[in-house]
């Protein structure tokens, strides 16, 4: 019995063995033993200002690196503050492990101080969760939690550890061998018959489109998708979370599909005869009205999670499994294709309606979000890791920042969590210190988690924060404009002077309201060793075009009006 440790020590012994070097957290009563033990271990702890921030940071860390992100909080309010971040990670299949303290096991059920049934609360928003009330369970549970979080379709796992389990002692034994769970088999293999059907459909298709979703990156299948597309000459459309999985400027890249996708992408989908859905789930923001969705297309759905098959859209062939494995099996049987007619017809749909470089348009004196984002793209050579919040700026980022590399756009797609960007950018930067990280965030979302500026200052995290400040909750205002007769209920937004605010946190800050100031200010931010906050005062009632209204047919888009202040298109 020479290896006795407390449960708190065993927690860190286990985390270190799982490769954890950074955790994001906030201490409190029920997690205090773990915090006390932490000082003895080689782990960087990032003190957040709100536990929601800890989960988004862990999430940003996971998405930027592909490693499991870790967030730590105390019981009760500490744990419930994590709920939004956990749900965000759940909907975007992001592997995070949340460690929460729990009241002593003998107090459970007594409504003790800061007691919440956290495993109960998080049951529907975690991939799996655990209540650990015995010191002997700490090590095996942590090992299992990391395995569950990262294997198969990744997702958040919560481990709730009672205070007595942290304080108790046990011999520390680390069994690092692969986890075996009797009811859990993340390795799937589609039947050969299904694979044959898929190959036949692919080789026979005249108007196919590949859909690249988040699963492409989660599977690490970027090169295989590219090889597949190039071999068969099939154009690739991306979901929001798929952006970066296929090079933006590749000739076969159509761009983003769905509600704010470009018109030719959605039109091509409606005219396609085959959809190859790779690691995406036909979200309603992608399909519009499912009854009229891609009416001429056979559909092949490749996903690691069979529960996604025929959930939103009925498909013809389902291939369960890791996308890389499936593509490796399909590739040798996929015939080289020409598909010139199809590619030409898409080019025709495009006309020259491709978004022109907004830099080339005359300076009308107004500052548009598109300018700001396009300038950041240009000046960073498209190589920055951009973390966005949710709303108009998020869609403009998807349209005007052209991502060539995977894991370079980090955004809350499924849950659409405002307040995500700032903390997630901190996580992304700590995961990839060599990367240039920009948080692009609206004035609304920024104010939801702006307390994390203090975390940035305290931890000296170099991220650049571009606030797209239009004085409105812009996307909601846009819906009010289109669908509620411009009755702007509760969308005009008063904000503090963000530059002064940034300075109050000790961060270099600037305000930009003219187009010619964008470039020098972005250059200043890039050169500055510390974090920079820039308040971009953009056009207030600008609108994201094109738009498929929620539930409308995919081809029934609201196009850019003519003449557009930002972009001009041939057929407008």
């Amino acid at each position: 019995m020479g290896n006795m440790r407390t449960g708190a020590q065993i927690l860190w012994e286990s985390l270190v063995r799982e490769g954890v070097t950074t955790v994001f957290g906030y201490p409190g009563g029920a997690i205090l033993p773990a915090y006390d033990a932490m000082l003895e271990y080689p782990v960087r702890h990032v003190l957040v200002r709100h536990e929601q921030g800890a989960t988004h940071m862990a999430d940003g860390y996971a998405r930027a690196s592909g490693e499991v992100g870790v967030a730590v909080a105390t019981s009760g309010p500490g744990a419930t503050n994590m709920v939004t971040g956990i749900a965000t990670a759940m909907l975007d299949s992001s592997p995070i492990v949340c460690i929460t303290g729990q009241v002593g096991s003998r107090l459970i059920g007594s409504d003790a101080f800061q007691e919440t049934d956290v495993t109960g609360v998080t049951l529907p928003i975690t991939k799996h969760n655990y209540l650990v009330s015995n010191v002997s369970e700490v090590a095996p549970t942590i090992h299992e939690a990391f395995y569950v979080a990262r294997s198969g379709r990744p997702g958040p796992v919560l481990v709730d550890i009672t205070k007595d389990a942290q304080q108790g002692s046990a011999e520390f034994v680390w069994d690092g061998s692969p986890v075996r769970l009797p009811g859990y088999r993340p390795e799937l293999r589609a039947s050969d018959a299904e694979r044959r059907r898929a190959v036949d459909l692919i080789n026979g298709a005249k108007r196919p489109i590949i859909f690249a979703g988040h699963g492409v990156m989660l599977s690490g299948a970027m090169d295989l998708v590219r090889e597949f597309a190039e071999r068969a000459n099939i154009p690739v459309a991306m979901t929001l979370l798929g952006i970066g999985s296929f090079p933006a400027l590749h000739p076969l890249n159509l761009g983003m599909m769905g509600m704010h996708g470009e018109a030719w992408v959605n039109q091509a989908i409606q005219e396609a005869d085959l959809l190859l859905a790779f690691g995406m789930r036909f979200d309603d923001r992608v399909t519009g009205n499912v009854k009229t969705y891609a009416p001429n297309a056979r559909k092949i759905h490749v996903d690691i999670d069979p529960a996604e098959f025929n959930k939103n859209v009925m498909v013809d062939v389902t291939l369960a499994g890791d996308l890389s494995n499936v593509l490796r099996e399909l590739l040798p049987r996929v015939e080289r294709g020409d598909r010139g007619v199809w590619l030409d017809s898409i080019a025709e749909m495009k006309g020259d309606s491709a978004v022109r470089d907004v830099q080339n348009l005359p300076d009308s004196g107004h500052l548009y979000a598109a300018h700001v984002i396009n300038d950041i793209w240009r000046m960073t050579d498209g190589k920055a890791v951009v973390v966005t919040d949710v709303g108009q700026h998020q869609m403009w980022e998807a349209q005007y920042y052209h991502h060539e590399k995977p894991r370079s756009l980090i955004t809350s797609g499924g849950l659409g969590t405002m307040g995500f960007a700032l903390p997630a950018a901190i996580g992304a930067k700590l995961a990839r210190p060599e990367a240039e990280v920009w948080a692009i965030v609206g004035d609304g979302g920024f104010q939801m988690t702006m307390c994390e500026l203090a975390t940035i200052a305290q931890e000296k995290v170099k991220v650049n924060v571009a606030i797209i400040n239009n004085g409105y909750l812009g996307m909601v205002r846009q819906w009010q404009e289109f669908f509620y007769e411009r009755r702007y209920a509760a969308t005009p937004l008063l904000s503090p002077d963000f530059a002064k605010l940034g300075e109050a946190f000790g961060l270099r800050s600037a305000t930009v309201s003219r187009r010619q100031e964008v470039e020098p200010t972005v250059a200043m931010a890039r050169a500055e060793p510390g974090a920079v906050v820039i308040d971009f005062r953009v056009e207030q009632e600008d609108t994201v075009y094109p738009m498929v209204p929620a539930g409308a047919d995919l081809h029934a888009m609201i196009r850019r009006p003519s003449p557009s202040p930002i972009v001009e298109t041939a057929d407008d």
Binding site: T119, P182, G183, Y184, R185, L188, R189, A307, N310
Partner: protein
């Protein structure tokens, strides 16, 4: 249509909650759910009746497999299966009516398991139709209280719904067997 699933799960705290929560979250309505031990230690068996179509059944199965504690899901719908419901019925029975009630119970192959001056407790097993039939004819005498277990089911013949031992290694499964866990 009504479908019967047999779900083998690990016998751990909270597993019933996970299964029930899944049905609620995915908007499936449970008509009945029974749970009990099996021939294998640490493995429980649930019989769940749910009203859904073919596609819903497939998605439900796939979603159940996503629960880490679920070992095996079998859709018994359409298979030859023995399906039983157990009921206890407290029925009013006076000296004058007791014989009649007992004859009815006998016809339905039920048993009288308790007799009080003004009532009987009847135990009956059978398909839900049969139990419904029994209740129908007892109604005129005065049904005072009912408890029903809900459906339990087992496939007929030799083919058993295999209960995997809880410590079976995952890779012991034949490769062609598609499992839905992720």
């Amino acid at each position: 249509m009504r479908r019967t699933f047999v779900v083998h799960v690990e016998d751990k705290p909270g597993v019933l909650n996970r299964v029930a929560s899944l049905f609620r979250r995915r908007a499936f309505n449970i008509e009945s759910l029974t749970v009990g031990r099996t021939e294998v230690p640490r493995v429980s068996r649930m019989t769940i009746v749910v009203d859904t179509d073919d596609n819903g059944a497939k998605r439900l199965e796939a979603n159940l497999y996503k629960l880490v504690n679920v070992l095996r899901v079998t859709d018994l719908t359409g298979d030859a299966a023995v399906i039983r419901d157990l009921t206890l019925i407290r029925v009013a029975a006076t000296q004058e009516t007791r014989t009649q009630v007992m004859q009815i119970v006998d016809t339905f192959r039920g048993r009288v398991v308790d007799v009080a001056p003004d009532s009987l407790i009847v135990e009956a097993t059978g398909t839900e139709d049969k139990i419904d039939g029994l209740l129908g004819v007892l109604q005129p005498y005065g049904v005072l209280e009912i408890v029903r277990t809900g459906r339990v089911a087992m496939s007929r013949g030799q083919q058993s719904v295999a209960t995997e031992p809880a410590d079976a290694p995952a890779e012991a499964d034949p490769g062609d067997q598609v499992s839905y866990s992720v």
